[in-house]
């Protein structure tokens, strides 16, 4: 049995878990290609116009897996931490995909509540059951997958560069080189290192969030705000670049909260959508780095 794993949205954070879980059950996994123009075009063709770029890209990845796999994984991630949400579009992602892309094979779309091991196991039980695996196999490959996931440590903390920039935004905007037009490499070439939110401890972020009037109810908001608020307080970076997809509801809130908090730390928001031109993006990055250099 071949299971298709689309390389979109939170893939970059959780692929070790999904891959090893399905492989443990004796299935083969196939991952879609890195995002490219064809995938983006497919995504735009199938997805509702109003959705944000990462969701469109995800549609493209799913479409490209048709015919290559017997089952396609569409993670319906409902919750990562207790009492928080991800984004409404994640909760309805399988429905969006299934109603927009024709000729799909069966999808694995059981809701994922990852706040506790027990809840997450419910997902494993359901999805494993769909593949006809036994309870015992599911249990052992679930444990192993979690073990492998815990060793996965994404995030970037560059050293030995002249300047350091905090790169904020949703993981899929930061790690998908096509969406952000390879911003990380571009910055590195300008002798600018990068720090991302994963490299700032969970407790520190939770501490920073207490400055807010109301505890954020999105995991993304807690992470991004906590991280950016912390680095601007500690002044261990020279500036902040925030990559945001056009019409992202959560970013529209985060960016406002961050602006309110960071004082005079240089801050630039890069909006990306399917029409973003590379030249314009390059110019803005160069101008921003120039500005930091002159400070």
């Amino acid at each position: 049995m071949i299971i298709g794993i689309p390389k979109g949205l939170l893939y970059y954070d959780y692929y070790p878990f999904f891959e090893s879980f399905f492989q443990g059950l004796g299935a083969n996994t196939v991952t879609s290609e890195d995002t490219n123009k064809t995938i983006l075009d497919e995504g735009i063709k199938h997805c509702v116009d109003e959705a944000c770029l990462p969701v469109k890209v995800f549609h493209g990845h799913v479409a490209s897996l048709r015919g290559k796999s017997d089952l396609i994984l569409i993670p319906r991630i409902m919750q990562i931490s207790q009492g928080e949400y991800i984004c409404p579009k994640f909760c309805g992602l399988p429905e969006m995909v299934k109603n927009s892309i024709p000729d799909l094979p069966t999808t694995i779309d059981q809701p994922i509540y990852a706040a506790s091991r027990k809840e997450l196991f419910n997902w494993a039980k359901d999805s494993g059951g769909l593949m006809g695996a036994s309870q015992k196999m599911i249990r052992s490959s679930f444990d192993e997958a979690l073990e492998i996931q815990s060793r996965h440590n994404p995030g970037i903390k560059d050293e030995n560069f002249k300047y350091t920039i905090a790169l904020g935004g949703h993981p899929y905007n930061i790690y998908d080189k096509f969406i952000n037009m390879n911003i990380i490499e571009k910055l590195n070439q300008m002798d600018v290192g990068i720090l991302t939110e994963e490299r700032v401890g969970e407790e520190i972020k939770n501490e920073e969030v207490k400055f807010l009037y109301k505890k954020p109810f999105w995991t993304f908001a807690r992470n991004s705000f906590g991280f950016l608020s912390y680095v601007s307080k500690e002044k261990n970076v020279d500036g902040i670049i925030y990559i945001s997809s056009f019409a992202c509801g959560i970013d529209s809130v985060i960016i406002e909260l961050v602006k309110e908090r960071i004082g005079n730390m240089p801050f630039m928001v890069l909006k990306v959508d399917e029409h973003t031109g590379e030249a314009g993006l390059d110019t803005r990055i160069e101008a921003f780095i120039d500005m930091i250099w002159r400070r």
């Binding site: 997805c47 409404p88 909760c91 309805g92 429905e95 109301k214 109810f217 529209s252 809130v253 960016i255």
Partner: protein, 365 residues
């Protein structure tokens, strides 16, 4: 202390009844208009949704009229509405404007004590006895239910009326007269009188008007300014239509949510296409579309503000419902840049389409 609250459909009438009953000074912001929208857009983050911007405008205009305390209900996601209060507080702080916010959140988030402290901030201004306070709360609730009932009735009857425009006339005179009085009891009487009048309106039972269900994001469907008076226009066209989401429905839904008895019928209908809540009223939108197709409506119109996350999910699902149930559904997106002419043209075209489908001018497949 002069209290104000942003517009939310017909809630201003209930709020008026409540504060009149409590004897608290309050300011109703001027009815939503271009000035409110412009002021709001100017002082809001560009990518926030339309309701946020109009509410900002409401606060500015209420401030001009002397308000100093704003009441705002909160929610705890995943829709953006839960974050309105914080962003708006920051904005007014930055502008140096003195506007105190009282955010009424769910007790689960705040804890009961904090919730009561906040409510007390307002109710302590009232000199009436506890009994009278409770009574005026009940009266406000009655006003809310009455106006929602009258509105629904007028919307339904507008397709059947013998004298064109009578239902609309009664509805608007009811709102105007209710706003004029300063006594909650008087307001209830006025509403009951108009309800009666609607009940005895001359109707033509042989008429078979086009029936439309209005679905989508709650603010943009109950707030006439945000959808270019869509409902008034539908009444002018002699369409009979219904909208399940109303402020009184919203309150009931919130209260019943913890015990999972909210909107059973709608949620059950949604299960076929969307079995999990996606925040806001995305799931309700799906459920209502399915219900409407079963209840013999001719079509449905979905309205939502640009970038509304839950409604984008439902918009992706609606075409499937439309195909499978052979039920026309049109989605309209509104924001501060929407143009009235384009919007209304689409509504007219949609009604034309429904009429022709009925007379089978176009072959059905």
């Amino acid at each position: 202390m002069k209290v104000t609250a942003p517009h939310f459909g017909n809630v201003y009438l209930a709020a008026k009844a409540l504060f009149d009953g409590l004897g608290i000074e309050y300011i109703i912001p001027p009815m939503n208009n271009k000035i409110a929208l412009e002021l709001g857009s100017k002082n809001s983050p560009e990518e926030m949704c339309l309701p946020y911007k109009i509410m900002m405008g409401n606060f500015f205009l209420a401030l001009e009229n002397g308000a100093d305390t704003a009441i705002l209900p909160g929610s705890c996601g995943p829709c953006r509405f839960g974050k309105y209060a914080e962003l708006q507080m920051n904005s007014f702080n930055r502008l140096g404007v003195d506007l105190e916010f009282v955010v009424i959140d769910s007790p689960g988030e705040l804890g009961l004590t904090e919730l009561f402290t906040r409510i007390n901030k307002i109710s302590s201004q009232s000199e009436r006895s506890r009994y009278m306070q409770l009574k005026s709360l009940l009266k406000a609730k009655k006003v809310m239910n009455l106006i929602d009932e009258i509105e629904a009735k007028a919307h339904f009857l507008s397709g059947y009326e013998k004298n064109r425009g009578e239902a609309k006339e009664i509805l608007s005179s009811c709102k105007i007269q209710s706003l004029d009085t300063d006594s909650p009891d008087e307001m209830i009487k006025i509403m009951e009188y108009h309800r009666n009048k609607l009940q005895h309106m001359e109707i033509d039972e042989d008429k078979k008007p086009i029936k439309i269900a209005i679905i989508g994001e709650i603010y943009t469907i109950i707030e006439p300014f945000s959808n270019f008076n869509l409902e008034e226009k539908l009444m002018d066209f002699g369409v009979s239509f219904s909208r399940k989401l109303t402020p009184s429905w919203w309150i009931k839904d919130l209260l019943l949510k913890p015990i999972r008895l909210n909107s059973l019928k709608i949620n059950r209908s949604a299960n076929e296409y969307l079995s999990i809540g996606v925040g806001g009223h995305g799931r309700e939108c799906i459920g209502e579309a399915v219900l409407a197709s079963k209840e013999g409506y001719d079509g449905a119109i979905q309205v939502f503000p640009l970038g509304c996350m839950p409604e984008i999910v439902s918009k992706a699902i609606l075409p499937t419902i439309s195909t499978e149930k052979d039920f026309p559904i049109m989605s309209l997106v509104v924001d501060e840049m929407s143009g009235e002419a384009g919007f209304i043209t689409r509504v007219e075209a949609f009604i034309d389409l429904l009429e022709r489908r009925r007379s089978n001018v176009l072959p059905r497949t």
